[in-house]
C-alpha cells in the first residue's frame, strides 16, 4: 500500500475508533508556513513560486498526514486589481488581519432574494471591490482573469504534487457549507447578523433561502448522496463552522443543524461515509446535537474547546487537535511532549484521536520548529 492510501486508511481508522499502528497527524498551520520558510508575508502572498516553496518545504520538514491549508487562501493578486482586499498585512509582526465588516445592510434582504446574482454583482461586491464600477473596469477584468488563472494554476500544482509527489490525501471529497456562514463572514458580518437574528428573522430567512438556491445546495446534497468518496480523499464530506459562534442552541438548530448538518450526517450513516467539521470558536455548547451520531462517522476539529471535556460529552466523536500554541510556542520540547502524551493516552489509546493544533497557526511565536518536530516524531513512534 502506498503512503497515500496508508494515510487515508490510518485517519479513517482513527476516526472509526480503531487502534492504529501510529497516531495520525494533521496540520492546521497556515501562514506560519511562510514565516517558517523565512519569507515576509507580503512577499509570499504575492509570489506563487515563493508560496509553493514555503508550503512544500513545510511538508518535507514536518511530514504531517494531511493539511488544512495548502497555500491557496487569500489570492491578493486578484483582489488587489479591484481594490477588494480588506486584509491588513503586518510584516513586522508577521500577521495579517481583517476587521468585521458588512457588505450588505439589514434592509437589503428583499433585494437579495429577488435576484441574488444581480444583487451581489451590482451592489454587494462593488462595495468591497471598489473598481468594479471604474470606467476601465472591463480592462481591469481582463487583467484579473489572467491573475485568477495563474492562481488556479498554482493551487492545482500544489494539489497535484500533494497527491503524486508527497502522498498526502485531500481532507474530503466534498466541501459543504450552509449559507448562514456566508452571511456571517462575507455579507452581514458578526454584528449585523447578530442583530438580524433578533430583529429581522423573516428577512434573514428570505436571504438564506435565496442563497441556498444560488449556491445550488440541493444539487450539492444530491452529489453528496450519489458520489462515492474520491480515491485521494479521506472523508466523504467536510464543513467549517464559524457562524455558530454567535448562535444560541436554538439558533444553531434553526440555521445549521436542522436544514444542513443533520441531513449530511444522515447521508453519511446511510452511505457509509465519514464527515469532518472544522469548528472555530467553541462547539461544546452544541455537543448535545452530536450525541446520537454513530461512532466512527464524525471527526471534529475544535478550536477553543477543552478536548478532554469534549470527549466526555461526545465519546462517539473522533477529535483532532489538542496541541496548544502555549505548548508549541512557549514551552520546552519536554513540556510539549508531556501534553502530546496526555492527549494520546487519554483521547487516542483506542483510536478516536488525531494529533493537531488548537488554532489556525499563524504567527511566528505560535510554535517553535523543534517542538513541532518533536511531536511529529513522538506520534510516529509512540504506541499507547
Amino acid at each position: 500500500m502506498g503512503i497515500l492510501q496508508e494515510r487515508i486508511q490510518l485517519v479513517r481508522d482513527a476516526t472509526n475508533f480503531k487502534k492504529t499502528s501510529r497516531i495520525p497527524t494533521y496540520s492546521n498551520y497556515w501562514t506560519y508556513m511562510v514565516l517558517d520558510a523565512g519569507y515576509l508575508l507580503s512577499d509570499a502572498l504575492y509570489d506563487y513560486d515563493k508560496m509553493y516553496h514555503a508550503v512544500t518545504r513545510f511538508v518535507e520538514k514536518y511530514n504531517f498526514d494531511f493539511y488544512n491549508y495548502t497555500g491557496g487562501r487569500n489570492p491578493f493578486r486578484v483582489t488587489d486589481i479591484f481594490q477588494a482586499n480588506r486584509y491588513m498585512i503586518d510584516d513586522e509582526r508577521g500577521a495579517f488581519n481583517i476587521q468585521d465588516h458588512e457588505n450588505m445592510s439589514g434592509d437589503e434582504y428583499v433585494e437579495l432574494a429577488k435576484d441574488p446574482l444581480k444583487f451581489m454583482w451590482e451592489t454587494l461586491v462593488p462595495r468591497k471591490a471598489k473598481l468594479m464600477n471604474a470606467p476601465n473596469s472591463l480592462e481591469l477584468f481582463v487583467e484579473a482573469v489572467k491573475e485568477y488563472d495563474l492562481y488556479t494554476q498554482f493551487t492545482s500544482r500544489v494539489a497535484k504534487d500533494f497527491i503524486e509527489k508527497y502522498g498526502i490525501p485531500q481532507k474530503s471529497s466534498q466541501s459543504l457549507r450552509g449559507p448562514f456562514d456566508t452571511f456571517f463572514s462575507h455579507m452581514r458580518g458578526i454584528k449585523g447578523l447578530s442583530i438580524d437574528m433578533r430583529r429581522n428573522p423573516e428577512g434573514l430567512e428570505q436571504g438564506l433561502a435565496a442563497m441556498h438556491e444560488y449556491f445550488g445546495l440541493d444539487a450539492q446534497t444530491e452529489t453528496f448522496i450519489n458520489n462515492p468518496v474520491g480515491p485521494n480523499a479521506i472523508y466523504g464530506g467536510s464543513t467549517a463552522f464559524l457562524g455558530h459562534s454567535i448562535c444560541s442552541p436554538k439558533q444553531f438548530n434553526k440555521y445549521t443543524w436542522e436544514p444542513y448538518m443533520s441531513k449530511w450526517l444522515d447521508i453519511c450513516v446511510e452511505k457509509g461515509k465519514q464527515f469532518t467539521i472544522f469548528s472555530e470558536a467553541q462547539i461544546t455548547t452544541f455537543a448535545d446535537f452530536f450525541q446520537d451520531v454513530p461512532k466512527g462517522v464524525l471527526m471534529i476539529q475544535p478550536e477553543q474547546d477543552d478536548l478532554f471535556e469534549l470527549r466526555k460529552l461526545l465519546p462517539n466523536v473522533a477529535l483532532c487537535g489538542g496541541m496548544t500554541t502555549v505548548s508549541l510556542g512557549l514551552k520546552s520540547v519536554g513540556e510539549a511532549l508531556d501534553l502530546a502524551k496526555k492527549l494520546v493516552d487519554e483521547l487516542g489509546s483506542n483510536g478516536g484521536f488525531i494529533m493537531g493544533q488548537n488554532k489556525m497557526m499563524t504567527y511566528r511565536n505560535d510554535a517553535k520548529p523543534e517542538n513541532i518536530l518533536a511531536v511529529q516524531e513522538f506520534c510516529e513512534a509512540y504506541k499507547p
Partner: protein, 44 residues
Amino acid sequence: MPEPTIVLGNYPEGYEAAKELLSHIPEENRDAYLRAFLQILMTQ
C-alpha cells in the same frame, strides 16, 4: 446622446460583457467561472 459606458459592475450588461471577454473558457462554463470569480472578490 452617447451610449453610457458599460462597467463591470452593471448587471446584466457588465456581466455579459465580462462573459464575452472569457474567450479562453468554453461558453458553457463561463457562468460558473464568473460566479467563482465573484465569490473570490466577495470572500477573499
